[in-house]
């Protein structure tokens, strides 16, 4: 068990390092000169040269890379070319917003998917079960930004119940924080919930056909009781896998939803930084996102062994 976890940790570290090199090279070949973007029109060659030297982008790529990754390993992501601020604290700040959004989106998804998927599985021979399945099919086809636009039109523009966008930190005003998070979380979560519903349904269906469930029922448990006591834990193994995979999709969805709802998260920071060729900032964000996704995979792997004792042996 320990060896297995250690091996996963090693894979995680190597993957992040490889990702850092790929990200760095991508940034290096991206067309456009950060110095020129910072200086704007009429920039003279002398000013350009001076600014490139100030940014350190006139040095060899290898030097630039090792400087950067060396700093990152010490928790220093460098200073942005554009904002002239330290990137690290800004990243943390923005990550906080994105994590709230993804977390709330995931919660919405689970609240929808677990009961709906289970219901659809248990009633899979009935019209009601087929109805839930059909609804989830429709939900899967709706992109998060479209859901966001529709929700804003109804709840913000027409009814004016909730803000159409903007962010209030939870420690500043908890009520405004929740109100601001409802629509973004719904637009992210509704779609994910629809996707997840289908996985929950097939996992529960699969479990319903297992021998141990029949055994449980033969001992006198009603179908629902048998499912809750013996089935859900088993059904959760494939669902957790999918959840891990979905988290990457959620992060991508968050980028779009952040733009629609004007949330100062990592996604909007990334888009701005790419447009401004703020290379260090882009590198920092992408590295954090990649590390995040890899971390989720790592956690999912560990969770398997907790959920399913049979996987602990090897």
């Amino acid at each position: 068990m320990t060896a297995k976890v250690l091996r996963r940790v090693a894979i995680f570290v190597v993957s992040v390092l490889v990702a850092s090199i790929v990200v760095f090279l991508f940034m290096a070949v991206l067309p456009g000169d950060p110095a020129q973007v910072a200086l704007g029109v009429n920039a003279t060659p002398e000013l350009l040269a001076k600014t490139r030297a100030e940014f350190g982008i006139d040095r060899p790529l290898v030097t630039q890379y090792f400087d950067w990754i060396g700093g990152v390993l010490h928790g220093d992501f460098g200073r942005s070319y554009v904002t002239r601020d330290s990137i690290g604290p800004q990243l943390l700040d923005r990550l906080g917003v994105t994590l709230w959004l993804v977390g709330a989106g995931m919660l919405v998804a689970l609240v929808i998917a677990v009961p709906a998927g289970t219901f659809a599985a248990v009633k899979h021979r009935k019209a009601s079960g087929a109805g839930v399945s059909g609804l989830s099919q429709i939900g899967v086809a709706i992109p998060a930004f479209l859901a966001g636009i529709i929700l804003v039109q109804i709840f913000a523009v027409q009814l004016r119940w909730l803000p159409s966008g903007g962010w209030t930190p939870p420690d500043q005003n908890a009520g405004e924080f929740v109100r601001g998070l409802v629509l973004p979380a719904l637009s992210l979560g509704l779609v994910q919930g629809a996707v997840l519903t289908r996985y929950v349904r097939s996992a529960v269906l699969d479990t319903l056909g297992q021998d141990y469930l029949r055994t449980a029922r033969s001992k006198g448990l009603r179908p629902g009781q048998a499912l809750v006591r013996h089935g859900l834990r088993n059904a959760s193994v494939p669902v957790v896998t999918v959840l891990g995979l979905q988290l990457a999709t959620l992060l991508i969805g968050a980028v779009v939803v952040e733009r629609v709802f004007v949330l100062p998260g990592l996604g909007s920071m990334l888009l701005d930084a790419v447009a401004a060729r703020d290379l260090l900032t882009v590198q920092g964000i992408v590295l954090v996102l990649v590390a995040g996704v890899l971390l989720v995979n790592f956690v999912v792997d560990v969770l398997y062994t907790v959920l399913d004792p049979r996987l602990r042996g090897s």
Binding site: V37, R160, V182, V262
Partner: protein
């Protein structure tokens, strides 16, 4: 139907979030707080080292003040200078300063600060517009309330540039951290900043002049035009500083809660032609393209018919404005004849544009109208600013491009042969030089000559002047209708 929508919506909300329905979504805190939405966020607060319109838009005249400012008619009027005199040789400027002015860090404002600020442009600023200050020879402190600036040669452009960020007054004790802590003499100070979200300005309690009506102004940064409109519709903000989605204007006009204020800008949407390269180095080809484009139809498509047809690089708020919109009227027959005469048949031109909505929609009109006269164009959208700046602007690798030229009095760029227009006319260069050094009357006469010459040469095709469209809650008044300065001037805004 409406009632049923309410019920459905309430049910959805309660199920999904447990949130209490029915409360108001307004974020405006009180009658003396104003919330203004912008599309472009300042990267930082240091406009001496970071280019772009967003920083002066937020800070100039609001947080920083100069000796002079521009009023909405484009006239240079007093600000920190009560008055000024110009010597007969037009090289010496004597500024009498306002008494009792303090910077927001408590330091008094004196002629020493004028000297410090103006000379600092040469030494510490790194953005390119600083070159306008090269003409300053030296600055004398005659008395604490009297600064004398001596130029190496007469320059009308210099006084005008003092109305921009170049004229902003700094204190030696307030420049340690310009990127995050601006210190100016203006009616507002920066109270808070949430990156990616907003900047909060609060009234400066020690302000020397008339206090603004709104003691708190929240500048909200919302990049997406639809999200910006939604924020106004749902009470998230009180003002949209400039509409970027013209199709949404009628919706606000039809609603009593809002008002639409339309004026002009300095922003000429220009079809740039590479004058330095064949086939566009032939004036007949450039004129033919100008005849081939129906600018009225283009304006209707690209910006819902709002905006002004001007036919030159001069907006109506400049003193030498003339309507040159019909010098080259839409005449495809003539365009074809001129192209044949120039031997320029079977042209295939690269129309390399920034990937911005106005440019993309204008490019499609240009493409189809040029096709009608037998000129093929390939539209290549380039990532803006990074790629467009590098390939079109710096490397001059283009035949045609479409871009807004936003800077005030940027007609002077046609005096620089190395500018990406590739336009090289000794006559225009001489006229521009004469205009800068002459009396105001000479300046007006010479600048008119410049505009006419550029028009005759079809140095570019000025498609239209971008309008300034502000949409606001009906209760807010005092807007500057024409956007002629770099500032979004908050000082005159007041409830009405």
């Amino acid at each position: 139907m409406k009632a049923r929508l309410h019920v459905l919506a309430a049910a959805l909300l309660l199920v999904a979030s447990g949130c209490s329905a029915g409360s108001s979504a307004s974020v405006s805190a009180g009658p003396d707080t104003l919330s203004v939405g912008f599309t472009a966020e300042p990267a930082n607060f240091d406009f001496t080292r970071t280019d772009g319109a967003a920083i002066p838009q937020a800070l100039l005249y609001n947080v920083y003040e100069g000796l002079v400012k521009l009023d909405s008619q484009g006239r240079v009027v007093p600000l920190l200078a009560k008055s000024w005199t110009i010597s007969p040789d037009r090289k010496t400027y004597d500024f009498q300063l306002q008494p009792g002015v303090k910077f927001s860090n408590g330091a008094p404002f004196t002629a020493e600060d004028v000297k410090f600020s103006l000379l600092r442009v040469k030494t510490d600023w790194t953005i390119s517009i600083k070159s306008t200050m090269d003409v300053v020879d030296h600055v004398d402190v005659v008395a604490p309330d009297h600064a004398r600036v001596v130029l190496s040669k007469p320059s009308n452009g210099w006084l005008f540039s003092l109305t921009s960020r170049l004229g902003a007054m700094f204190s030696p004790s307030g420049v340690a951290d310009l990127a995050t802590k601006p210190v100016g003499t203006g009616p507002y100070v920066v109270a808070a900043r949430k990156r990616g979200d907003s900047v909060v300005l609060k009234g400066n309690p020690a302000y020397w002049g008339r206090k603004p009506a709104y003691s708190t102004v929240v500048l909200k940064y919302i990049k997406d035009p639809t999200a910006l409109n939604n924020a106004l519709s749902s009470n998230g903000i009180d003002v949209i500083s400039a509409i970027t989605a013209p199709d949404s204007i009628p919706q606000f006009q039809a609603d009593d809660r809002f008002q639409v204020v339309q004026g002009t800008t300095n922003s000429e949407v220009t079809l740039a032609m590479n004058n330095a390269r064949a086939p566009l180095n032939d004036v007949r080809v450039r004129q033919a393209l100008t005849y081939a484009i129906d600018r009225k139809a283009l304006l209707d498509t690209a910006w819902a018919g709002r905006g002004t047809l001007i036919g030159s690089m001069v907006p109506p708020t400049d003193p030498w404005y003339e309507d040159l919109a019909n010098v080259h009227p839409f005449d495809p027959g003539r365009a074809k004849a001129m192209l044949t005469e120039a031997g320029a048949t079977n042209l295939n031109l690269r129309l390399r544009i920034p990937n911005l909505p106005y440019a993309v929609s204008a490019a499609q009109v240009v493409q189809s109208q040029l096709a009608d006269v037998g000129v093929r164009t390939t539209i290549e959208p380039l990532d803006f600013p990074a790629v467009w700046l590098k390939q079109v602007f710096t490397d001059h690798d283009y035949d045609l491009s479409i871009i807004q030229h936003v800077e005030a009095r940027d007609i002077t760029t046609f005096g620089k042969p190395k500018y990406y227009w590739g336009y090289d006319s000794k006559r225009v260069q001489q006229l521009l030089a004469d205009a800068d050094s002459g009396t105001p009357e000479q300046q007006v006469a010479d600048m008119k000559q410049v505009a006419r010459q550029l028009n005759t040469d079809a140095a570019a095709d000025w498609l239209f002047l971008f309008p300034n469209v502000i949409v606001a809650k009906a209760k807010v008044g005092g807007f500057v209708r024409n956007q002629v300065s770099e500032s979004f001037d908050l000082t005159g805004l007041a409830p009405r």
